[in-house]
Amino acid sequence: MKIVYFAWVREQIGCDEEPAPEGAVTVADMLDLLRGKGGGHAAALGDESRLRFALDQLMVKSDAKLGNASELAIFPPVTGG
């Protein structure tokens, strides 16, 4: 699975995509694993209320199971229009 980041999440983490660490069942588990990397990851992902998620390009909540998805996107609430 690949993780992709957008907007200030991408800027704080310092990359736009990376391979996902193994061992997470849900989006929330994955957040915990990623925060464990410290630095920009911990700073950008610290407050879940400021984040939104998409699994294989569909918006999900953080309790969603990763299943066989191939892409998890983590980004701020959208501000288009």
Binding site: V4, F6, A7, W8, A54, Q57, M59, E71, A73, F75, P76, P77, V78, T79, G80, G81
Partner: protein, 153 residues
């Protein structure tokens, strides 16, 4: 007819509305969003010179199409168009066109509001403001946008 476009260049709103008018409609309603120079409410003294629009390319078009399809079903539309620009846009430039065509005006007007309200909270775009003093800041999502989108549920 559903047409969604994501592009860096300016759009031709006249041509888009003409296409909608030819779907058998009795009414076409449209919304155009423009880059505002007064920018961020938190920084009233900072003039915005440009916005940078970022998207999630793999998801954007599907999200816009899904919003358009939902509007078409809900309001019995004959057509819906969303054109959203990305990249760097100067103050005063158009960002987005959302338009709906229906047999009668009430459905066209309501559907137009529905398209832009749902786009504001459900399509993966992010705006970064560039200020005249050289600083830049990501736009924060507004609770009032969530409330408007939730009003359609």
């Amino acid at each position: 007819m559903i047409d969604v476009q994501v592009q860096t260049e300016r759009f031709d709103s006249g041509a888009a509305l003409d296409a909608l008018a030819q779907t058998g409609a009795g009414a076409v309603a449209s919304f155009i969003g423009i880059v505002r120079a007064d920018g961020d409410v938190a920084y009233p003294d900072r003039r915005v010179t440009a916005l940078e629009l970022e998207q999630y390319p793999a998801m954007t078009e599907a999200a816009l199409r899904s919003i358009s399809e939902a509007a078409t079903e809900r309001f019995s539309l004959t057509g819906a168009i969303i054109i959203h620009r990305i990249g760097r846009l100067e103050a005063g430039e158009p960002i987005v066109l959302a338009a709906a065509a229906a047999p009668h005006r009430a459905d066209a007007l309501d559907a137009c509001a529905y398209l832009i309200d749902r786009l504001k909270t459900g399509a993966p775009f992010w705006k970064k403001q560039h200020f005249a003093d050289g600083s830049a800041k990501w736009v924060e999502a507004k609770g009032s946008d969530d409330a408007r989108a939730a009003g359609w549920e």
